[in-house]
């Protein structure tokens, strides 16, 4: 994932990232049905594992960001899910920083939300080939837009980062390529085996009747 460590980003950018991430998170959490929390969490755990797999590129290796795929599957809930993922990476491995979490979440979540919108549009076509092609485009766009956003946050933080910011975008090209294929394949499999997993009305399938009839139903709100 794209972790900017603490120390690089300037205060105004940091503040902007924190405010937008908090707002997005609040909205995402509002949309998250408490019964769907295990579903979201187990999927997030899967994405966390996938982001640790290394893909060889020449003498080095790269890691996936998967924000396109996360956006497709989780919708608005992707914002808190990405924040949780980044928080865990900071706590477990020391990747990224803590004050910069807002900016890092913003950089990954905004492309994820755009990918979600794009994918929902493509689903109207009902045509598997179009849907799978869009999924590939989401993989590509998710990484590409994040690279641009990371570069923008660097460039906004100081003129001295401008040249490095341009290189950052190019450094993401191999990941964009890999994620295009990866996301298309993953969604193709989901479409064939469990298409209901792509419904964004989360938790609908999990709703057991007695939950809604529970007198203390408010406990779930």
């Amino acid at each position: 994932m794209a972790h900017i460590p603490d120390g690089v980003i300037s205060w105004p950018v940091l503040a902007g990232g924190i405010v937008t991430t908090l707002a997005g998170c609040a909205y995402g959490l509002k949309k998250l049905d408490p019964v769907a929390i295990p579903r979201t969490a187990v999927l997030s755990a899967t994405f966390f594992v996938a982001a640790l797999v290394h893909f060889p590129v020449g003498p080095t290796s790269v890691h996936l960001m998967l924000n396109g795929l996360i956006g497709i599957v989780l919708g608005w809930v992707a914002v808190p899910a990405i924040l949780v993922g980044l928080l865990l990476q900071a706590l477990l491995f020391g990747f990224g920083g803590i004050i910069v979490l807002g900016v890092n979440t913003f950089n990954l979540a905004v492309p994820a939300l755009l990918c979600h919108g794009l994918f929902q549009l493509s689903r109207r076509s009902q045509h598997p080939k179009i849907i799978i092609a869009t999924a590939g485009a989401c993989g590509f766009l998710g990484v590409g837009l994040t690279a641009v956003l990371v570069a923008t946050s660097l460039a906004l933080s100081g003129k001295e980062f401008a040249s490095a910011a341009q290189l950052v975008v190019f450094a993401h090209l191999p990941i964009m390529l890999i994620e295009t294929v990866f996301t298309a394949a993953a969604i193709a499999l989901l479409l064939r085996v469990k298409p209901e997993a792509l419904e964004t009305d989360q938790g609908q399938e999990l709703h057991l009747d007695h939950v809604q009839e529970d007198e203390q139903g408010k406990a779930y709100v």
């Binding site: 408490p34 019964v35 969490a41 187990v42 865990l88 020391g94 290189l167 394949a185 993953a186 999990l206």
Partner: protein, 272 residues
């Protein structure tokens, strides 16, 4: 190459799950006796303070403070150093470019591009800041157990849903990692090799598509089990509160005075 590196199923960073409870009988490091929410607040506050520092002496003191915190938390030295060395690729780019993109007194030049003293100083201070904060994160909240982290977030009024999402995700990372290893091993036995090729990327895509389906099915079982046990949207264990102990108060006071000390040092140096 050691055996671990050649094991194709091993993940980039072996999660050193600090959250798993230490075996009984082992003495807890001193940091372990401090309450979780105090450590979280201290980490945030010190990180903000460190970000405002510019003077080399103040930054050096901040780094020393972080090392002290790491020692008190009983962090594994070798593992921590490895983590500090594994900078993100683009951070290396940023650091390499800084000496050339800030103008000032020329230190040396490569192919006509002059590296400035000011740029090098900026790169070094950046490195000090990010490493000092990283050490703090690993030392203060990084050594907490999952339950403690949940309680701390509850005390700091983080929304319940977020805490539950956090705890569930942490809980299932290890489970999903094992599932991944099983699938990957099955591919291995059929002769799969990870290469820079469409075939590899597609196969991994299918693998994780399969894992997503498995995780959805697993989550249905989890919800059914939770409802069966009468889950009411709250974890009772999260709401238990301990009163602050003397050690907590001492820690809070020491951390606050360290923060103030760093700020004074910075101001005094900037003024002179």
């Amino acid at each position: 190459m050691n055996g671990r590196a050649t094991d194709p199923t091993h993940l980039h960073a072996e999660p050193g799950f600090a959250h798993q409870p230490s075996p009984e009988g082992l003495s807890k490091p001193w940091m372990g006796t401090i309450q979780a929410h105090i450590r979280l607040i201290a980490c945030f506050a010190l990180a903000v303070v460190i970000l405002t520092l510019h003077h080399p002496i103040a930054l050096l003191c901040a780094l020393l403070l972080s090392c002290l915190a790491a020692a008190l938390a009983g962090l594994n030295t070798a593992q921590t150093l490895r983590r500090m060395a594994s900078l993100e690729g683009f951070m290396i780019l940023v650091l390499l470019f800084l000496p050339f993109s800030i103008e000032g007194e020329t230190l040396f030049s490569i192919a006509g591009f002059a590296a400035s003293y000011e740029g090098l100083a900026r790169a070094l201070s950046l490195l000090a800041q990010s490493n000092a904060i990283m050490l703090l994160i690993l030392a203060l909240p990084g050594t907490l157990e999952a339950g403690e982290l949940g309680q701390a977030m509850q005390r700091l009024h983080v929304p319940d849903k977020f805490i539950h999402l956090f705890l569930f995700t942490l809980r299932y990372i290890d489970v999903m990692r094992q599932e991944y290893r099983r699938l990957r091993q099955a591919m291995q036995t059929r002769g799969f090799q990870m290469r820079f090729s469409m075939h590899s990327w597609k196969s991994l895509g299918y693998l994780f598509g399969m894992l997503m389906i498995k995780s959805l099915e697993r989550s249905e079982r989890i919800v059914a089990a939770m409802l069966c046990r009468g889950f009411q949207g709250k974890f009772p264990s999260l709401t238990q509160e301990r009163p602050l102990s003397q050690a907590d108060l001492i820690f809070a006071v020491v951390m606050a005075s360290c923060a103030l000390g760093l700020l004074t040092l910075e101001w005094a140096r900037a003024a002179s």
